[in-house]
């Protein structure tokens, strides 16, 4: 799982795909996840970090991160 090279992420959660001109906004949790993906962390690690930082159980985190990654693929943000 790797973010495309053309993706720029701002501190305020604005995500820009320079190859397609698409832009998105995400909340702080989405930003946290995106930054971890950008840093090359795999889904398991991302899930671990999310459950450490936020009050969320493992299975909910797994399901939500799975949905989020699916959305990233759908929007052509992942290689």
């Amino acid at each position: 799982m790797r973010l495309k090279k053309s993706i720029a992420i701002s501190e305020n959660g604005f995500v820009f795909n320079a190859a397609r001109g698409d832009s998105f906004s995400t909340n702080p949790i989405g930003l946290f996840i995106l930054e971890m993906i950008k840093a090359g962390k795999d889904t398991k690690v991302v899930q671990q970090e999310v459950t450490n930082k936020y009050a969320i159980d493992d299975s909910t985190a797994e399901r939500d991160i799975h949905d989020f990654v699916k959305m990233l693929k759908q929007y052509d943000l992942l290689d």
Binding site: S6, A8, A18, A19, R20, G21
Partner: protein
């Protein structure tokens, strides 16, 4: 040091909802770091907004429609040249380019420079010849066919899958989902622009555009890819953003190099969703109305064109800003009736 003044005649002053490129071109010229542009606007209609934009257009002359013939146009240009000493002329309409390309040698002999595609280059990229063009230059193009009448339309459509794009030879394009729709669009477009009508297989994907400029000797001087982010009801881009897509710049480079294209051009492409392959759907043989985005991205294509037309050597632009946006707006100018009266009666302002 004072910059050299260059008198530049520009058409396409119709900055309306489906704008001509003239005003965008003029803005680039006025921002030139190399010369002081004095703009002579060439108009066809009395209400082209550019006529009244006195901060951009220094003097305006009406010129005859291309349909009137080259001789009439030439004689009008000779008159304007006597008064204004035109250094460079930049035609911005597809429909007038044929005349200006024909007249280019004569204008050059009068001291009016231009940088235009040759007649061969202009003809080769016509919508109806796109398949041939794609084969010759090894570029993906959607299958297309040219039809002149309803019988041909019916026969040809049997070989296409719907939806099909129905296009005018110069302007307008509609997506048809059935034979009945295609027939209606055939009549609508042919009544306005004549025949032939071009049928093109619809490609599902993202529409992208590239504004580019070639030096006429096989070198790409600049190219900026853009995606329209706001499209009006009539299909015109009202906002757009510059993209980082090297494959589109490479396509422009390939075309300019293989055709020795001279002057501005716009590539219209679709990147197919399922494959990511870019299909060339049209080449417009002049700058697009959004060419000022290229200026905003650091590539002043109109300025480069004038410098090359004047015989200067221009180095290719090496990069451009990605993520720059253009957003059009409408604006009501308040104009004096006397200005309208003057252009309407004398053909000059």
């Amino acid at each position: 040091m004072k910059k050299q003044q260059i008198n530049i005649a520009v058409t396409g002053l119709n900055a309306v909802d489906s704008p001509g490129p003239g005003i965008a071109v003029i803005r680039g010229l006025k921002e030139s770091k190399h010369f002081e542009a004095r703009i002579i606007g060439l108009s066809y209609e009395n209400l082209e907004p550019g006529i009244y934009m006195r901060d951009l257009v220094d003097k305006v002359y009406q010129i005859p429609y291309p349909s009137v013939g080259h001789e009439t146009l030439l004689s009008r240009l000779e008159y304007i040249h006597r008064k204004e000493k035109i250094d460079v002329i930049i035609p911005n309409f597809d429909a007038e380019l044929f005349s200006f390309i024909k007249l280019a040698p004569k204008l050059e002999s009068m001291g009016i420079h231009s940088l235009l595609p040759t007649m061969e280059q202009f003809d080769a990229r016509l919508k109806g010849k796109l398949n041939e063009y794609g084969d010759k230059h090894n570029i993906l193009v959607p299958r297309s066919a040219v039809v002149f009448n309803i019988e041909e339309l019916a026969q040809t459509l049997k070989t296409f899958d719907y939806p099909v794009m129905v296009k005018g030879k110069f302007y307008e394009a509609y997506k048809a989902f059935s034979y009945e729709q295609a027939q209606a669009y055939f009549h609508k477009i042919s009544a306005k622009w004549g025949t032939p009508i071009v049928l093109q297989q619809f490609v599902q994907g993202q529409e992208l555009n590239v504004t580019a400029i070639g030096d006429g000797k096989g070198k790409l001087i600049g190219a900026v890819p853009m995606r329209k982010t706001y499209i009006t009801d009539t299909g015109k881009g009202w906002a757009g953003i510059s993209l980082a897509d090297e494959s589109l710049v490479e396509m422009a480079r390939h075309l300019v190099e293989s055709t020795n294209w001279g002057g501005g051009l716009e590539l219209e492409l679709i990147k197919e969703d399922s494959t990511g392959d870019p299909y060339l759907i049209e080449i417009n043989p002049r700058f697009p109305a959004w060419v000022y985005l290229a200026v905003g991205c650091g590539q002043n294509h109109p300025e480069a064109l004038v410098r090359m037309a004047m015989g200067e050597k221009v180095d290719p632009f090496e990069d451009y800003d990605v993520g720059k946006m253009f957003i059009r707006y409408s604006y009501d100018m308040i104009c004096d009736l006397k200005d309208f009266q003057q252009i309407a009666v004398t053909g000059e302002l």
